[in-house]
């Protein structure tokens, strides 16, 4: 990961979005999940884990505590679809890329 | 009265600076982001006013 996480800009954060990442934070916290988004204000990450029972487990890692973000893998089509529909209100128009 | 009003900067309308700042950061989507943020801050302020929460822990763990 190049440089400090919270100093990366929106375009660089976007490159991590929708990928499965491993985040190291604080002294000994590790969280894995599909990266839904990065808050451009606080650099905090939202990680999703889709459970078999249909529930979604959400981890929010605060930007100030982030030590390292590693990409583990790219999403498959099904995961990408779930990521793109999580927390999104129903809209009449299609989403642009 | 305001004796120095002739040299004072023109009065900025409240929220004007914020709108300009948002426009710079979010471009064409700034109005939408501002609307969501305003709703969220309103909820936060209202809850704090009603519930009067106290900081926990009292002393910050990390400065």
């Amino acid at each position: 990961m190049p440089g400090d996480w919270h100093l990366l800009g929106p375009l660089e954060w976007t490159r991590y979005v929708n990928k499965e990442v491993k985040v190291t934070a604080g002294k000994d916290v590790e969280r894995c999940g599909w990266l839904l988004t990065v808050d451009p204000v606080s650099a905090s990450l939202v990680l999703l884990d889709f459970k078999a029972d249909g529930q979604t487990s959400v981890d929010l890692v605060m930007g100030h505590a982030v030590k390292e973000v590693q990409v583990l893998q790219e999403p498959d089509e099904k995961t990408l679809n779930r990521l793109q529909t999580s927390f999104v209100p129903v809209r009449s128009c299609s989403l642009d890329s | 009265g305001s004796g120095r009003s002739t040299t004072a900067a023109p009065v900025e309308r409240p929220g004007e600076r914020r709108v300009a700042e948002m426009k710079k950061l979010y471009g064409d989507d700034s109005a939408k982001i501002l609307a969501i943020e305003t709703a969220m801050q309103l909820t936060f302020d209202r809850n704090c006013c009603r519930k009067q929460p106290k900081y926990w822990p009292v002393i910050p763990l990390k400065l």
């Binding site: 988004t37 | 939408k32 982001i33 969220m40």
Partner: protein, 94 residues
Amino acid sequence: SISTSAASELDPEELQKEQHARSVLREKFLRCLFAMTNKQVYFNLHEKVKVEATFGASDIDVLNFQVSDLHTPIGVQKEALIRSRDVISCHFDV
């Protein structure tokens, strides 16, 4: 609270791209915070402190979380504010 120094060096097309990327990221984040309302949230704080509470709201600068029924190691606090600087991560299910 966001650095715009980089943005000012960009050409208009790049700037627009960056603004769009920032909007998409921010909107998804704000919607996620809204989704936390009234959820049981587990907070992982510095110094290995773990607490749980019912999430109320966050301020837009993400500096404070307003929560209710905060279960602390020494008892329950009915209404509380948690500083985001004290938090490493938090967890909830939807």
